[in-house]
């Protein structure tokens, strides 16, 4: 079994101060990563254990920047590793994991729909959860106002 602190030590040995590891429990590791090193850290994770799969990713609006948190798990183990990258507004973008791991394809499209963060290098950046008729706004941004949106669009979108 892999514990969060073992992996944190290993990542710090390789990447030094570039990564910010916080092991909140033996089964939960959170790693802050600068966007330009995300792919490198991801490859290191997979080199360390080939069983790492992308469980899902969270996107959230943190006012000055957009946070993209990739949650990785290993089948058969309790550890969940979260790689956190921050994308600065006004044109938030982070490197895409989708060319390297198919599981990232849909979730990155969803995150783009909800907050407008761009995934650079995504092979298929179409909408996923936002209907074609939905205007080009991002409903999970803090400045999104549902009441004003409804007044502008009306109750029903035309599909």
């Amino acid at each position: 079994m892999t514990t969060a602190s073992e992996l944190a030590t290993e990542l710090q040995r390789i990447f030094g101060d570039a990564v910010d590891c916080v092991a909140r429990s033996p089964r939960r590791l959170y790693v802050g990563v600068p966007p330009e090193r995300l792919l490198e850290v991801f490859e290191q994770l997979r080199a360390w254990h080939p069983g790492f799969r992308l469980a899902t990713s969270t996107v959230l609006d943190l006012r000055e920047e957009i946070g993209v948190f990739h949650h990785f798990a290993i089948n058969g183990e309790s550890l969940v590793v979260t790689l956190k990258v921050m994308a600065r507004k006004p044109d938030p973008s982070v490197p895409s994991l989708a060319p390297r791991i198919p599981a990232a394809n849909w979730i990155e499209r969803e995150m783009h729909d909800l907050t407008g963060v761009r995934f650079v290098g995504h092979p298929d950046p179409r909408r996923l959860v936002k209907a074609a008729a939905f205007p080009d706004v991002h409903p999970l941004r803090r400045d999104f106002d549902p009441v004003a949106f409804k007044e502008e669009i009306g109750e029903h979108l035309d599909y």
């Binding site: 429990s25 799969r53 992308l54 469980a55 899902t56 309790s78 979260t82 936002k130 409903p139």
Partner: protein
């Protein structure tokens, strides 16, 4: 003079058509659209449209208190209602670093396993229908009904119990119905055993489903496939064992796997899991401890937590971030079908149209798609075909194989028959 607006026929793609599946079907709870590109009978590309009913639940959760959210999350899915509310509680309890009292953990286990039993039976029935085994459909759904009744007896509702609460459970089970619940389980045990044996012994089913819709273990990891769909490819992943929550760590049960990765293996895994769930339920009934129902959580400090839960369809993941107020700053919900459905990209390519229905159904998606199908057009400009009958094709294929084997195209009643 022709007024046709069809595009010129593309060279080399004479036979290429686009088949639309979905988005609506009266049997199913959610709309999803699939677009199959086929060459003759072979599928060469699959695309999915998931944008029909985005409910905005994550944003709604950011406007609800921690006490209200489990009830909101029960509405994510009509089948796995307990799944999302307990998963959210697991996430907040991870943030707090607490574990609910024993009685609450056992109650969560009981309602979670009852849900798995009725969900798996639902799938077995639908899968039977898709390949023309309507006896299986009738049996499985008949057996499912008393399980939903037990759910209602114990919790007050057939689906949405409103029992999970951060730090425990909101109400006790109605323990006066436990003897009746045990009686139903005893009956179900025999029925499931018979159904499993009948399915395993049936040569037509094996011929029809072996080698169909195969996922390799590497594809399981690449696409992040979870639950019975992954376990049927020999990947032993089960949150109940890997990252134990509720009372699973204290009970005796097995993670069921099968190596083949095809639709038959997925059916076998689910059928055998039914027996494991019954085993878990019996132990939980026997050992249901007394004591508090809840820790009485009054405040959630700033922080973040990740909850995992083994839903009937696989690992459910919730991420919660708190800023110290009484509502979360962010709740991310990832249901297992999100990753399982995406694996169609791997399992459907190269399949024949007759196999697509059952392959799509094999990961037990929140379906919505599979029967009402229309071909919109022939992409290459050829003759427009109406395929209102993907299921009919699938059932025809079963009958063809049955005739070849000289067998009836439905499950044969074992000695004693169905009750």
């Amino acid at each position: 003079m022709s007024t046709s607006t069809t595009e010129p026929r593309a060279a080399g793609a004479d036979d290429r058509s686009v088949v639309q599946i979905g988005p609506f079907h009266p049997l199913l709870e959610e709309p999803v659209g699939f677009e199959l590109t086929v060459e003759g009978e072979r599928v060469v590309a699959v695309d999915a449209r998931m944008d029909y009913i985005h409910k905005g639940i994550e944003r709604l959760a950011q406007q609800r208190t921690y006490d209200m959210i489990p009830i909101l999350l029960e509405r994510i899915c009509g089948i796995c209602s307990v799944t999302h509310s307990v998963c959210f509680c697991n996430a907040v309890e991870d943030l707090l670093g607490v574990e609910p009292p024993p009685r609450a953990r056992y109650i969560r286990t009981i309602i979670g396993e009852l849900e798995r039993v009725h969900s798996h039976l639902l799938w077995v029935g639908l899968a039977g229908h898709f390949i023309g085994y309507n006896t299986v459909f009738m049996w499985a759904w008949k057996y499912r009904e008393p399980v939903c009744d037990v759910f209602e007896m114990l919790t007050g509702h057939r689906q949405n119990s409103a029992i999970p609460l951060v730090g425990g459970v909101r109400r006790d089970l109605r323990v006066e119905y436990l003897p009746e619940a045990r009686r139903v389980l005893d009956e179900l045990d025999g029925q499931v055993r018979m159904l499993t044996e009948a399915v395993l012994d049936d040569p037509v089913l094996a011929a029809r489903l072996r080698g169909v819709g195969v996922l390799t273990p590497q594809q399981v990891v690449d696409y992040g496939v979870v639950g019975p769909t992954a376990r049927a490819s020999g990947v032993a992943t089960d949150v109940r064992r890997d990252d134990p929550y509720a009372a699973y760590g204290e009970l005796d049960w097995q993670v069921i796997t099968a190596p083949e990765g095809d639709v038959f293996a997925k059916a076998v895994v689910r059928l055998l899991e039914l027996a494991e769930s019954i085993k878990i339920l019996r132990q939980a009934f026997d050992r249901l401890p007394g004591g508090d129902l809840s820790l009485g959580i009054r405040h959630v400090p700033a922080g973040e937590g990740i909850g995992r839960y083994e839903a009937p369809r696989g690992e459910d993941v919730h991420y919660v971030r708190s800023n110290g107020t009484n509502m979360p700053e962010r709740l991310k919900v990832r249901a297992p079908s999100f990753t399982n459905i995406a694996s169609f990209q791997a399992s459907c390519i190269g399949a024949s149209i007759a196999d697509v229905t059952i392959t799509l159904a094999a990961c037990d998606p929140c379906y919505s798609c599979t029967e009402r199908t229309i071909v919109v057009r022939d992409a290459a400009g050829g003759e427009a075909r109406a395929v209102g009958d993907l299921i009919a094709r699938s059932q025809r294929e079963t009958r063809r194989i049955a005739a070849e084997l000289g067998r009836p195209a439905d499950l044969v009643l074992p000695a004693g028959g169905a009750r």
